[in-house]
Structures are given as structure tokens and as C-alpha cells.
């Protein structure tokens, strides 16, 4: 949380013009980091960094009305999301902040919170054309929004723990659990369960990067009986698996996943054996995108890991792909466990409408 402290400190001391340029530099650096994407940043860190940057924008930006602030956030948000479209967390945080601004503005504007919360179909129908203009300046808006963003940051810190706390509700003793690759959320989830229950974990290694190895080593250190296997054995072993518990990069609006490549196979295998597939994912991974064109989410990295350059002349004659993500359709998923509880994929749309404002779906 040093980053957050540092951020607010600089916001207090810096004079206006320098502040603006420094902020712009920070955003640029953040975007560059995303663009490079080398060290596979943890989604939670990305979310936190985005939020603190947004908070700086709110704190230091030149705006007087809510509308201006929202435009500002939107432009900066676009800049950041464009840097790395696969890091949906950034866009999600931008949307969350936009929603916060709307709420704070609405509160200051004198709108009751209940009416906002309970949008009935009837109200949606009747109030169609009526949108807010966010013109009225409120001096307390800045502080309120920053306050709300701080709350979000605190909430962010607890997400993994909140998810892990539900572990015992889902893992019974002597269970065989399969997972794939490395997910910190799943790691925490399983470790929490291991404090009370004895069970066995099978980790698919997730070639070519073999993140699964790290996962397995970490789990085995907690005395969880862990087995590492190659991705090819997923289906072969699935018949003995009780539950599949995985993490994900993004939850799409239809309840589908964009997860590490290999997950689709895993989900299909689980479906084939009617094994429940549980996705552990914090709410900030919920993204209001639909998989319109399935290819749009693809991200490719250097195929060097798949076929090393040492292979020689053969490389000139072939195509080698190394996609990072898989699309997992919602019908293969049994349950989402997020920091606010468990939900079926069919309920995701509802959670989404609570998290984001419909107007912000497109940044």
C-alpha cells in the first residue's frame, strides 16, 4: 500500500501544472508496462494500480463538474485499456470509478439511493430518455469520489481472502480436485481449505510456461497432496476428479471465461464426466464485454517457448502459435465464486448491472 500512500502524498505537495504532466507520465508508464506485459502481472495489482492512478486523476485533474471528470476518466481509461486489451481489469476499474462518480453525483444531486438501486422494469421503460447532465458543480464531489475509491481499494485487498473464506463450503474431505496453471486466488482457496480438510490436488502444468509447477510446489508446501501432470493427461485423469477449481483472467458478460489456454479442454473434460467446474474469481474480473468475435480476445506471445529457435531451418517453413487464452463458454461452468459469494453463470448479467452503469459498458 506504499503506492497508495505515495500517491496521495505527491498529490498534496505538487503544484498544478507539474502535477498534470507527472500524472500523464505515470499513466504512460503504466500503459507501457501493460503493453509489454512481460512478467504476467497479477490482476489484483493491475486493479490496484489502475485505481490509484484514477484516484490521482480525480484528485489532481482539472475539472469542476462531474461531467468533466467523467470525460477525463474516460479518455485516460481508454488510453490505458488500449494499451493492453487483454487486461480487462483496467477497463473494469475505470467503469467502477465512473459508476462511483455517477453515484456520488446522484447523492449530492439529491437522488435517493434506493431509487437507483431498484430499477424496476417499469422505471427503466418510463425513464428511458431521461439522462443526467452532470452539469451541477459540487465542491464536495472530489473528496467524496476519492473516499469511494479508497473504499474500493480496501475492498480490493480483501477479495482473495473473501473468496478463500468460502473454501470449506465447497471442498469436502478426501476430495480430488483438479486445477490448471497458477492462480493466486485458487492457491489461497485451496490453502484455506487445507487448514481443515484433507484432500488431493492434481495440477495440469499448463505448457509451455508450466505455471502449474509453481502452483504445485506452493500447494505441496502446505502439505496438500499435490500431483503435477502434463496437460495431455487432463481427460485421462478427469474421471477420478471430484471438482475442478480454476482461476480466470476475465469473466465475460454472458458468464463465459477468458482463461489460460488449456482451460477449455479442461472444462470440456469436466463436462464430459459431469464434474463440477468452479471458477474462483474476484468481482473486478467481471467485464461487460460479450464474446462477439471470439478471436478478439486472443493474445499471442512469442512461440519461442513452444518451439525453440534452436530447431533450426524448419522454423522458416512452419507456423507456430502460442495463444495465451482460451474462451470457455458459460455452459461448461458450474459456479463462480467471487468475493461476494457463489453465483451461477446465468446470474452474471445481474452482477454486472450492479457493478457498472449500462452507459459505461463502452468506454
Amino acid at each position: 500500500m506504499g503506492r497508495r500512500g505515495g500517491g496521495s502524498g505527491s498529490a498534496a505537495t505538487m503544484p498544478g501544472a507539474e502535477r498534470g504532466s507527472e500524472l500523464s507520465e505515470q499513466i504512460e508508464a503504466f500503459a507501457a508496462r501493460l503493453r509489454r506485459g512481460g512478467e504476467r502481472p497479477r490482476s489484483e495489482d493491475t486493479a490496484r494500480q489502475t485505481l490509484s492512478l484514477l484516484r490521482k486523476i480525480v484528485g489532481n485533474g482539472r475539472w469542476s463538474r462531474a461531467g468533466e471528470l467523467m470525460d477525463l476518466i474516460r479518455t485516460e481509461g481508454q488510453r490505458m485499456t488500449a494499451a493492453q486489451p487483454s487486461e480487462t481489469t483496467v477497463g473494469n476499474m475505470v467503469r467502477r470509478v465512473l459508476k462511483v462518480i455517477r453515484e456520488e453525483y446522484g447523492r449530492l444531486h439529491g437522488r435517493s439511493e434506493e431509487s437507483d438501486q431498484q430499477e424496476s422494469l417499469h422505471k427503466l421503460l418510463t425513464s428511458g430518455g431521461l439522462s443526467e447532465d452532470f452539469r451541477t458543480p459540487y465542491p464536495s464531489l472530489r473528496a467524496n469520489v476519492i473516499e469511494a475509491i479508497n473504499e474500493m481499494l480496501i475492498e480490493l485487498e480483501g477479495t482473495t481472502d473473501n473468496i478463500a473464506m468460502q473454501a470449506l463450503e465447497h471442498i469436502h474431505s478426501n476430495e480430488v480436485i483438479m486445477t490448471i496453471g497458477y492462480s493466486r486466488t485458487v492457491e489461497a482457496f485451496l490453502k484455506e481449505a487445507a487448514r481443515k480438510r484433507k484432500f488431493q490436488v492434481i495440477v495440469a502444468e499448463c505448457a509451455p510456461f508450466c505455471q502449474g509447477h509453481e502452483m504445485a510446489v506452493r500447494l505441496s508446501k502446505e502439505n496438500i497432496e499435490t500431483t503435477v501432470m502434463s496437460d495431455a493427461a487432463i481427460f485421462a485423469v478427469m474421471s477420478r476428479v471430484n471438482k475442478v477449481i480454476i482461476g480466470t483472467k476475465t469473466i465475460l458478460a454472458n458468464g463465459a471465461l477468458i482463461a489460460v489456454s488449456g482451460t477449455h479442454t479442461l472444462a470440456l473434460a469436466a463436462k464430459h464426466h459431469s464434474t463440477p467446474l468452479i471458477v474462483c474469481a474476484p468481482m473486478f474480473k467481471l467485464s461487460p464485454q460479450f464474446p462477439n468475435e471470439e478471436d478478439s480476445f486472443h493474445k499471442f506471445v512469442s512461440p519461442q517457448e513452444v518451439l525453440p529457435f534452436t530447431e533450426g531451418e524448419i522454423l522458416a517453413k512452419i507456423n507456430v502459435h502460442c495463444p495465451v487464452f482460451d474462451y470457455v463458454p458459460p455452459e461448461l461452468i458450474t459456479l463462480f465464486i467471487s468475493n461476494i459469494g457463489g453465483n451461477a453463470p446465468s446470474y452474471i448479467y445481474r452482477l454486472m448491472s450492479e457493478l457498472y452503469h449500462p452507459d459505461d459498458y463502452e468506454l
Binding site: E205, A236, L268, I318, H321, C322, D326
Partner: protein
């Protein structure tokens, strides 16, 4: 790549540790069956057993001569009991039977004794110690040796007895017999007093022996032997006479049978084909050793068998995944030859080399392994010479056994190899006795060549031709791993028929066999794409056909193949891409299997370790008690995920495997 060390120098013959030898006798005696085997042939069960014993027909015949124990002896050696073995219960019982078997083995020594390339018998470790000069002294001496040892008497005393004349040998036997019986009586008394478990053990053998007794075809003397040997404790004096009589009878019997056999074989259809329909049943009963590693009794039995065959036992490596504790897990870094020198008198150097190539993964793939095996067996047969007083058809089969055990220790045999061995054994035992040795050897070589040509080479050609019909221009064909058959099919379709198609090669760690496929296809100018198995969902939308190889096709229609195949079939099914499996019919297997657990193979777990950024995450897995590595070799694809099997007999649904098997059995 010539990693495998040259076959070890013949080295001094392993002399059995004195302790080992001494251990045998006392344990042996108490476990003799209190009564002989119940008299006679059972109805259907024996039939089946006979079917099973088909391959070992010569051995059986020989056993009969060996008397009661001979019948039981076959069991531990051949692993033939199937259900009976494990059923016999606690470890000691198993051991006991073995012991008994060992004893009988003494009488059975003859066939194995006068070995192929070597004068050294190599079959029975027990005998090892005191078979001084190479074996011309023949069976009788060995036999006495065996007996003596069994008695706990000094083998040295027994050994020098000259072989030839019947009379001294008998008298010695007589003595031994007497001694044995005394001992037995003592033991019996003790066992009666003993706890009930022991008596249970005592009961077990006769029960197990039953089918075996019946399994011996046309052998009235055998059952008579059984009781005679173990039942009449008092008949000391008459024993020798009885024995002599019996032997004469058996000799006559055998001569008769051989004559009959010769006749039959000339008539082209021996009794064997008739038995073949019963074979599937017997196959079902027999549980291969390499899937019951978790059964200590079975393991002990294996150890005994290997010891008898002078084949080193390979130690399992590392902790196994619980689900697979019934399978072997070997380390590539510890090849069989490192732990123990293998006398070249027992195992042909070519087989040693082959075994190392198997265990190091240098020869890999079902077809390649089978071809290599048959080539080595050809060499083995070339170098073989029938010892005097032996028949090639019997001795050679017995001679093959330790070799097969050895190869099995290096790496569990593939289904293709199993079928080839079955075929070869049958061919050997079907050889007409009228053939001279060199003729017989010539014939066997031809038969093997024919098998290689017809079952593998021509079959591949036939498959390649029919698979070609399924490959259209502009197809995108997905292949997995490295299947020689699929590669050939694709190369043919590209080069000979000029089809324009693209291939996506899917690969998986840790074997990365797809790279070999990639090299081969690219060399032929086929346009290739290469992905790992995780990325299969990414490539499948553009794929029009999936072409897979197979390790074996099981009788329930399941396809056993390299691990990952089933997964590809599954995902292909989800994307509605047709899955075609190419498989020669010689890989069809009568086993049935519904999951990938029961019968599978574990490869070296160290293969999974990967070095990334200078550190191997899994490096210390062996020290980590709660971390296991699973390096599975095969998996089983359920039949509903496979649309078509392309075989040398044409294109069939994979549920037609049993039909093909049945037809094949009738043909043979």
C-alpha cells in the same frame, strides 16, 4: 544417440548367494499340498485353461512328465493362473506355491537347461549354483540337483552324479524321495498343530492346481502322478518302481502325442485353431503383472520368476501417484543393466541392447517397437541351436521366456509386441517335428518376415490408401504426437497423390514427439502449423479432420493411444470435427478397458521437470512428500469420441473391433 551401453560383457555367471539357496528348502516343504490334486478334468473350466495354455503347449507336455508338481510349476512361471494366483491369498501362500513350483522345476529343468546359444541353463537360479560344467550331462543330473536342493541336502553331493543310466539316478531319487517324505510328514504334523491360516495356505494350492491339472490335455498319467507324488507318504520302496513305470508310460504317451501332432500339423489345421475361440476368455482371466504392482504377492511372484530366469528385477523409482500405485514407475537414469550385470548366456546381447533402447525411449512407438522386437527375435533364432535331446519347438519357446521377461522389465510390452510374441510362440510351437533344425529356423525367419511385411508394412500401405480417400484438397488435418502410420498416410497423400492440404501438428510435453512429426512432414514439403495441446481450442475451428494414431484398439472399441489423444478427440467432438483413427489390425487387442487407470504405463517422472529461468521448480520433488509427478504414457479414448477407424481391412467403426478379432481368430 547411441546412448545404450554396449551389452555388458558376459561376466562371470552370477553365483547365487548361498543364503538364497539355503532359504529354499525349509520354506518349501510345509506348503506341499496335503493331498494330491483332485483327480480329474473338470468340465468347462479346464477347457478354458487349455486354451490359455495353448502357447505353452510344449511346456505343458513336459510338465506332465514332471509329475504333480510340474503342473503347478507352470503357473508361477507363466503367470498363467490369472485369477487363481491372487485368489490364493496371502503372500505366503503365493510364495508357497512358488516354492512348490520351484521344486517341480527341477524336473522340468531339461527343456530350458540345454540352452540356446549358451550351454548354461539360465532358467533356474536354484540350479545355477551347482550346475558346474555345461549341460551335457543332461536333465537327469539337474533334476537330481534340484531335488537335492529341495531337500535341503547338499547339492554338491547331488551334482556330480552322472546323468546317463537310469538305475543310479533312480536310486538317488529314491533316497531323496524318502527324505523328502519324512520331512513332509514332519511338516504336516506341525502344520496340523499350527494356526488355521497355515492350513488355509495348505488348502490353497490344490484348489489352484485343479485347473492346471485338467489343463494338461490327454494326460492320464498326470493326475495319477499328482496323488502319487504327494499323497502316498509311506510308499518308499515302491516309489522308484512307480516312478519308473510312470516315466515309461509318459514317454510312450509323449511319443504317441507327437506322432499325432505331426499328423495334425501336416493336415494344416491342428487342434490349436479349434481352441482359439476360447482364447479371449483366457485372456480376460489373465492379469498382466505390470498392472498389479500394488499386490505384494504378485510382485513376489514376479521376483521369483525373474530370479529363476536370471533376469534382473528393475526397481521402481520415486513415489507414485496414489491412483497409479498398481503400475511400475522406472527411472530412465537407472537402466536395468546398471544395477546388475546380465549374463549373456541368459539374455542374448541383441535383446539387452533392444531392452535398453526401449527403456531409454530410443525406440519408441508401437510399430517401431514391434518391428525392432521381431528383428531381434529373428537374430535370436538365427543364433539358436537346439540342444541335444531337445525339440526346437519346445525349447525355443522356453528360451524366449526370459528374453520377454527382460524386455518387460525394461518397459512394459506394448499391445503390438504382445500380439507379435503370441504369434511367434504359436508359430514356433506349431512347427512340424519333421523339419530339420535349419529348416525350422529358416521357416521361422520367413514367418517373421511375413508378419512384418503383411501386418505392418502392407497394412500401413492399405491404410494409407484408404485414408487417402478421406483427405481432400484444402483440408486442414490435425495430427497429434508422432504416429508412424499417420505420418506415412499424410506423406503418401501429399507426395504420391498430390493432395494439397495443411497439417496442424499438436504436441504435448514432456515427450514432444510432435516435433519429429513436424520434421518429417516439413521435409516432404507439407505445410505445417505447430501448437501445444493447450492451444487446441484455438486451432480447431479451422480444422476439417483429425487424424490420430493408436497404440491399440481394445475389444470394447476404446482406443488406447498416446496420452492426450482422448483429449483431442473430445475437443474435436465439441467442435464437430470428425476424428479418424488409423490402426493396423495387428494392434487390436482383446483386453477391454474403460478408463486410463487400470492398464497404463508410467514414464520417468523426472521428465516433467523443466528448467525455466535457470531454476527447476519441481527439482526437489523427490524430497517433497506431498508432491508427486505423474507422467502418464497412454490414455483410453471412449468409442463415442471416435468416428471412424481406418484399418487394413477397411474403414470400420471402432465398436467393430471385437468382430475383427473374432474373424482373425478364426483365420488363424
Amino acid at each position: 544417440m547411441a546412448r545404450p551401453a554396449a551389452p555388458p560383457a558376459p561376466g562371470p555367471p552370477r553365483s547365487a548367494p548361498p543364503g538364497a539357496v539355503a532359504l529354499h528348502p525349509p520354506r518349501f516343504a510345509p506348503l506341499r499340498p496335503p493331498r494330491g490334486r483332485p483327480a480329474l478334468p473338470g468340465p468347462p473350466r479346464p477347457e478354458r485353461c487349455r486354451g490359455r495354455a495353448r502357447q505353452r503347449a510344449p511346456g505343458v507336455a513336459r510338465d506332465r512328465r514332471g509329475g504333480a508338481a510340474g503342473g503347478t510349476r507352470e503357473r508361477p512361471a507363466g503367470d498363467g493362473t490369472g485369477g487363481a494366483g491372487p485368489r490364493a491369498g496371502p503372500g505366503t501362500a503365493g510364495g508357497g506355491r512358488d516354492r512348490r513350483g520351484g521344486a517341480a522345476g527341477g524336473t522340468r529343468e531339461r527343456p530350458a537347461r540345454t540352452g540356446v546359444t549358451s550351454p548354461r541353463p539360465a532358467e533356474e537360479p536354484r540350479v545355477r549354483g551347482h550346475v558346474g560344467p555345461p549341460g551335457r550331462q543332461g536333465a537327469l543330473r539337474i533334476r537330481t540337483g534340484g531335488m537335492a536342493e529341495r531337500e535341503g541336502g547338499n547339492p554338491e553331493g547331488a551334482a556330480p552324479v552322472p546323468a546317463g543310466p537310469q538305475a543310479p539316478e533312480l536310486s538317488r531319487e529314491e533316497k531323496l524321495q524318502l527324505r523328502k517324505e519324512k520331512k513332509q510328514q514332519k511338516k504336516k504334523k506341525r502344520s496340523e498343530k499350527g494356526p488355521s491360516t497355515e492350513s488355509a495356505e495348505l488348502c490353497a494350492p490344490p484348489e489352484a492346481g485343479q485347473p492346471r491339472a485338467a489343463a494338461q490335455p490327454t494326460s492320464p498319467p498326470a493326475p495319477a502322478d499328482g496323488p502319487g507324488d504327494s499323497e502316498k507318504p509311506a510308499g518308499g520302496k515302491s516309489k522308484a518302481e512307480l516312478r519308473a513305470e510312470r516315466r515309461a508310460k509318459q514317454e510312450a504317451e509323449r511319443a504317441q502325442k507327437q506322432a499325432r501332432k505331426a499328423e495334425l500339423s501336416q493336415a494344416a489345421t491342428t487342434a490349436k485353431p479349434r481352441q482359439s475361440p476360447t482364447e479371449p476368455q483366457s485372456m480376460v482371466k489373465r492379469l498382466p503383472e505390470h498392472v498389479q504392482v500394488d499386490d505384494p504377492a504378485a510382485q513376489r511372484k514376479l521376483a521369483k520368476k525373474l530370479e529363476r530366469q536370471q533376469v534382473p528385477l528393475r526397481q521402481d523409482y520415486g513415489t507414485k501417484v496414489n491412483l497409479f500405485s498398481h503400475l511400475h514407475q522406472y527411472s530412465r537414469k537407472k537402466p536395468l543393466t546398471q544395477q546388475m550385470s546380465i549374463p549373456s548366456t541368459v539374455i542374448h546381447p541383441a535383446v539387452v541392447r533392444l531392452g535398453l533402447q526401449y527403456s531409454q525411449g530410443i525406440i519408441n512407438g508401437s510399430n517401431a517397437r514391434c518391428i525392432a522386437l521381431l528383428e531381434v527375435f529373428k537374430q535370436l533364432i538365427r543364433d539358436y541351436s537346439t540342444p541335444p535331446n531337445e525339440e526346437l519347438s519346445r525349447d525355443l519357446v522356453a528360451k524366449l521366456k526370459p528374453h520377454i521377461s527382460f524386455l518387460n522389465q525394461c518397459r512394459p510390452l506394448s499391445a503390438s509386441m504382445g500380439n507379435a510374441i503370441k504369434f511367434l510362440k504359436k508359430e514356433i510351437s506349431c512347427l512340424p517335428d519333421t523339419l530339420r533344425e535349419d529348416e525350422a529356423k529358416e521357416k521361422l525367419q520367413d514367418v517373421i518376415d511375413k508378419y512384418l511385411r503383411e501386418k505392418i508394412v502392407l497394412a500401413a500401405e492399405a491404410i494409407s490408401r484408404s485414408a487417402f480417400e478421406k483427405i481432400n484438397d484444402h483440408d486442414v488435418i490435425l495430427v497429434y504426437g508422432c504416429s508412424s502410420l499417420v505420418n506415412r498416410t499424410l506423406c503418401d497423400a501429399h507426395a504420391k497423390k498430390g493432395r494439397a492440404f495443411r497439417v496442424i501438428v499438436v504436441d504435448s510435453r514432456p515427450r514432444l514427439e510432435g516435433r519429429e512429426t513436424l520434421r518429417r512432414l516439413v521435409r516432404r514439403g507439407i505445410h505445417c502449423t505447430y501448437v501445444m495441446i493447450n492451444a487446441i481450442s484455438y486451432v480447431l475451428p479451422e480444422v476439417s479432420k483429425v487424424l490420430l494414431g493408436a497404440h491399440a484398439l481394445l475389444a470394447n472399441g476404446s482406443v488406447m493411444s498416446r496420452v492426450g489423444t482422448s483429449q483431442i478427440a473430445l475437443v474435436s467432438k465439441a467442435y464437430n470435427v470428425p476424428v479418424l483413427v488409423c490402426c493396423e489390425t495387428y494392434k487390436f487387442c482383446e483386453r477391454v478397458q474403460t478408463d486410463s487407470f487400470v492398464s497404463n504405463e508410467l514414464d520417468d517422472p523426472d521428465d516433467l521437470i523443466v528448467l525455466r529461468k535457470g531454476q527447476a521448480q519441481l527439482g526437489g520433488w523427490a524430497e517433497n512428500k506431498s508432491l508427486r509427478l505423474l507422467n502418464l504414457v497412454y490414455d483410453v479414448t471412449p468409442p463415442d469420441l471416435v468416428d471412424l477407424v481406418i484399418t487394413d481391412l477397411g474403414m470400420i467403426p471402432c465398436t467393430s473391433v471385437p468382430v475383427v478379432l473374432r474373424v482373425k481368430n478364426v483365420d488363424q
